[in-house]
Each structure stands twice: as structure tokens, then as C-alpha cells.
Symmetry: C2
Subunit: 325 residues, 2 copies
């Protein structure tokens, strides 16, 4: 039996999936990242997790993929930047280290790009050659599939949809720019907007939902309030949808996709999805209509998109390499 | 001798170039388009121009390329939309018509995409695999080269940089959106801004340049005034540069190019080029710095970029087709 393991390395959790060549899931696991104990600790935890899965599956894994929430250098083998991890990760030859521990080929890719690849290979975008994946969670990420190929750019960091400047005079983003999409249309932005309304004393059902404990405000809760007809919540979701629609229009003019695939927790909101769909299709815009209609669809994989995507990436990279040798 | 003719079909002029396989120019011509006499008239003018060039070169042309300032359908053979031409162009099977008149293979491509291709094949971007071409003339257009391939999108209309919304509450664009880059950073936008300043009675050297004849205001003149230290002109160029810089930052985050290639009359302005370069490199932005520096370069072909680009496109399309047959 040939199988492939995909590891999705996140700041809080490490998720792992084993899949066969058809994308069927053979095993899944998740553990805490324990990033605070440093890179060597996390790397050895990932290796142990894979060894455990191999034992359980009683067969040797053909190739392993690991997502990196950041930028990779040296042909996708060395960590160059992992903004939400300690600095000591910079320069870590993660591919070589994992290969030494596992004695198995390891392939790395940025997490959002891996998820995009997975949607094409086994997921919601199987039938599209040109699509854009937008993941709206705590932040906003994405990936671009162009003519059936993952668009990587000169250094593998193409697809940073969250860092499209949408309000040039807007608030400072973590990246150093002002008014990035992530500052106005992410899970964090939705929660912050709700907190602002509540602190201003605006009457809203959201305050009752959390019993005045403002730490409990989440994007899901804002969505729920909007669905129930709460005006401030509706205003927040309308604003979020407007920013996302502007960005999608820009992406349509720039990349001419057949479909937009939405992933991430926030995008599961029916309210948000319906608002974007309505804004995109109802407003009479000459240009995009000449580009043909764009389908809006949802990710098939939910929070396992990164793990299944990187497993698929490792599978195809490995097979391509073996074919060319 | 093998040679290729590229025809750049514009609203006012038709430009033609004959090149050999190394991109050396063997002949060049230009004639008025006479678009007001309809599509059949223009098509027969283009065919006559090519027949003339063939006679002069005393050899048969291997393939012909024609740019289309709009959208093509049916695998780049039929005109779908040509916004600045009469409606009757819609649906014209331009490839078949030209092939019948010339008895030579004809290849069509959008004008800005063809120019992008030419910069890669024979021009300023020969050494780059990932770059973005931005042409700033009366309007703003562009093209994207990704991993050495022209990025076309699902229907060949990718690269519409001029229709990136940069001011969501901005003025109405011809495309139906509000605040597209073209509305704030094109030759037309620069001239309009100058006229507004003059009409408001702002003291400016620009009024003297045109002897109070406001029809004579051009982007070149605004540039000249900015260079001479005229405050309103400097303010206009600063604003134009700021909008272009925001767009370039977005393109960097989205597509991770090695270089930006500037073409078109307005981009020849030293003032504008220097302002963009300064803004991009001086402001401390965490994100783009992690992406590596982007080189800003100028088009090599000036107003012949479309003609040489479409000749190169026809050459490569023709050779690819013959190889695969």
C-alpha cells in the first residue's frame, strides 16, 4: 500500500492526515504544537506523530508533507519567516531535519498554498483550472490556481490575499502596511468591530449573548446575531462583505478565475456568503460581466484543508521527481 | 528567410512590424485605423498593409499576429468585446477572416498581454520569469508573466491592472466600477487633475505653458511642470505615484514578482518613476521586504511594444503548433 502523510503545522495545533493516492483518509491525528519549547521540540513532536501513524498503519509511508505558516527559502527546504513563531525558526533546514528523523522524503509548502492545492486535487475545485482560494479565519490567506498549476511567484509567496491594501489610509496591519484586507475582513476584525459597538453603548443582542463578558465575543457570535436581525451585527457583516467583494472584483480583473473557493471558520457564515454573492451578482458592473460569471463555492475540507493539501502536494512532488529521475 | 508580422490594432492607428526569429526589425509601417468605416474596412486595410510588407520583403511571411484592444472568445479567434470600437465588431471571427484574406496562419491576443509577451521574449524582461507589465498611457493596462508563461486566466482577460479598485468610494470608471486605478493614475486622470487645479484658480505654471488654452493640457506637460517645481503639478504626480505604489504593493503580495516593467507614455516621466521607486523602497514595510526586493524597470519597446509582442506571440504559437502536430 502506498500512502502519504500531511502535517499541518499551526501555532496552537499540529494536525496530521494519512491519505491513499485517491485522497481517502486512512488515519488522522492532532496534537498541541507546544511552540513555546522551541523548534527542536516541535520538530521532534512532528516526527514522533508520523512514526506513531506508520506503526498504526503497519506500512511504510511513501512521502511526508509539512505546511509552514510563513515563507520558505532554498527551493522550499529552509524556513525563512514564520511570523507567529519564535525567531529561532528562521534559517531552520526543516526539510533536511525531518528527512533525517524519518528516513522518508519530506516536502514543504506554505499552508494556504497547500490547502489551495488540496482543493484542486481532491476537493471542491476538482473541475476548475483557474480559481482563487480565500481562507477567512483569524486572519485572511489564500492561494491561486492558474491553468491547473499552483501559482507560486518568484519565491513561493504569491497568494497573500489578506495583504491586499483595501483602505490606504486604514489601520496599521501586522505586515507594516495600512488597511490590508486582513485588518477589515478577518475573524479578528469582525470581533474588534463588535467590541467597538458594545463599548460605544450601542444596543445589541451580542452583549446579552456573552453576558457582558466581552472576552467571549467571537466572529461566530457576530454572525449568529446578524442572522437574528441585530443591527450592529448586520452592519459589521455588511462591511466585511463589501471589503471582500471589492477584493474579489480586483482578483477577477487581475486573474480572471472561474471560481472563488472560500475556506476558514468565518467563511462558513451563511450571512457572509450570501451577502458577497448578492453584491457580486446584483450590482451591474460592465467589466466583470464581460469576464463571464464566477462561481462562488465552499471548501470541501474545513479545518483539514492544510493537512490534506500538503499530503496531496507531497504525493505529486514525489511522483514527479521519481518520473524525472 | 522566416519572418513574422505583428499588427497592433489601436483606435487611431494600426502599427505593423516585421521581425525575424531573433526579434530584429525588418520593416515597420503605420496607417490610420479609420475605425469609423466599420470592421470590414479595417480588416481589409490590415490585410493590404501585410500584403504590401510581404512585397517589400520579397518573401512569404510565416505567421501573422494581430492585437485586439479587448476580449477574445473561442480560443482567441473571435472578438467578444472591443470597448473603444463600434459594437459591430462583437462576434467578428477575426482570425478566420484574416487567414482567408492572407492565406497565412494568424494568431490573436489582447494588446497589453501581447506587449507583456514581447518584453519577455525580446525586451526589458528577458531575464525574468516572474514579472508584471504595467502600461500607463491614456488608460492603464497590464499583463502578468508567471514562471515564464503569460498568465491568461480562464478566458484570456487576466492582467487588468487598470481595473483594480483602489478607492472604493471613488469616481465612476468606464467599466462600471468606482475608483479603479485607471480613474486616478492614468494619463487622462493626470490631465483632469491639472484642469481641476487650473479651474479652481490655483497659481500654476501649467496655465502659462498652454497660454490659457486648456485643451492643450497633457500628462507630459504636467510632468514637465512638476520637474520645474510647480506645486500643483508635484501634488498631482505625488498622488499618482501613491496610487501606483499601493497597487504595486498589492501585486507584490499577490503575485510575488521579481520585477515590474513600466510601459506607456506616462511612465516615461522620470518624476513618476522616481517617486514610485522612492515610495516603494523607503517606506519600511515588513511584508514586501520578506518577499525580496522587486526591480523597477522600463519597457524596451515604447509605442511598438504591442506590435513586436504580437509578432513574437505569433512566432511561438506557430512553432508550438507545428511541433505538436
Amino acid at each position: 500500500m502506498s500512502y502519504y502523510i500531511g502535517i499541518d503545522l499551526g501555532g496552537t495545533n499540529v494536525k496530521a492526515l494519512a491519505i491513499d493516492q485517491n485522497g481517502s483518509i486512512l488515519a488522522e491525528r492532532h496534537i498541541k504544537t507546544e511552540a513555546e519549547f522551541g523548534s527542536e521540540h516541535v520538530i521532534s513532536r512532528m516526527a514522533s506523530l508520523i512514526i506513531d501513524m506508520k506503526k498504526k498503519l503497519a506500512a511504510d509511508v511513501t512521502a511526508v508533507g509539512v505546511t509552514v505558516p510563513g515563507v520558505l527559502g532554498s527551493e522550499y527546504s529552509v524556513v525563512e519567516l514564520m511570523p507567529n513563531f519564535p525567531d529561532q525558526w528562521k534559517g531552520i533546514p526543516l526539510k533536511r531535519k525531518m528527512e533525517e528523523l524519518l528516513n522518508t522524503p519530506v516536502y514543504l509548502m506554505n499552508d494556504a498554498r497547500a490547502a489551495t492545492y488540496g482543493e484542486k486535487k481532491f476537493g471542491a475545485a476538482k473541475n476548475f483550472k483557474d480559481f482563487i482560494y480565500i481562507v477567512i479565519g483569524t486572519g485572511v490567506g489564500g492561494g491561486i490556481m492558474q491553468n491547473g498549476k499552483l501559482l507560486l511567484g518568484s519565491r513561493g509567496v504569491a497568494g497573500e490575499i489578506g495583504h491586499q491594501v483595501i483602505e490606504p489610509k486604514g489601520v496599521l496591519c501586522g505586515c507594516g502596511n495600512h488597511g490590508c484586507l486582513e485588518t477589515v475582513a478577518s475573524g479578528s476584525a469582525i470581533s474588534s468591530a463588535a467590541l467597538r459597538f458594545i463599548r460605544q453603548g450601542m444596543p445589541t443582542i451580542m452583549r446579552d449573548y456573552v453576558n457582558n463578558d466581552l472576552n467571549k465575543i467571537t466572529p461566530e457570535l457576530v454572525t449568529k446575531a446578524a442572522y437574528a436581525g441585530d443591527k450592529p451585527a448586520i452592519e459589521i457583516m455588511e462591511g466585511t462583505a463589501a471589503h471582500l467583494t471589492t477584493t474579489i472584483r480586483n482578483l477577477m480583473a487581475l486573474l480572471n478565475p472561474e471560481a472563488i473557493v472560500f475556506g476558514g471558520g468565518v467563511s462558513k457564515s451563511e450571512v457572509l456568503f450570501d451577502l458577497i454573492s448578492k453584491k457580486l451578482h446584483e450590482e451591474e458592473i460592465l467589466f466583470p460581466s464581460s469576464l463571464g460569471s464566477v462561481q462562488l463555492i465552499r471548501s470541501e475540507f474545513d479545518h483539514f484543508a492544510g493537512a490534506i493539501g500538503i499530503a496531496a502536494w507531497a504525493m505529486d512532488q514525489h511522483n514527479d521527481k521519481n518520473r524525472s529521475e
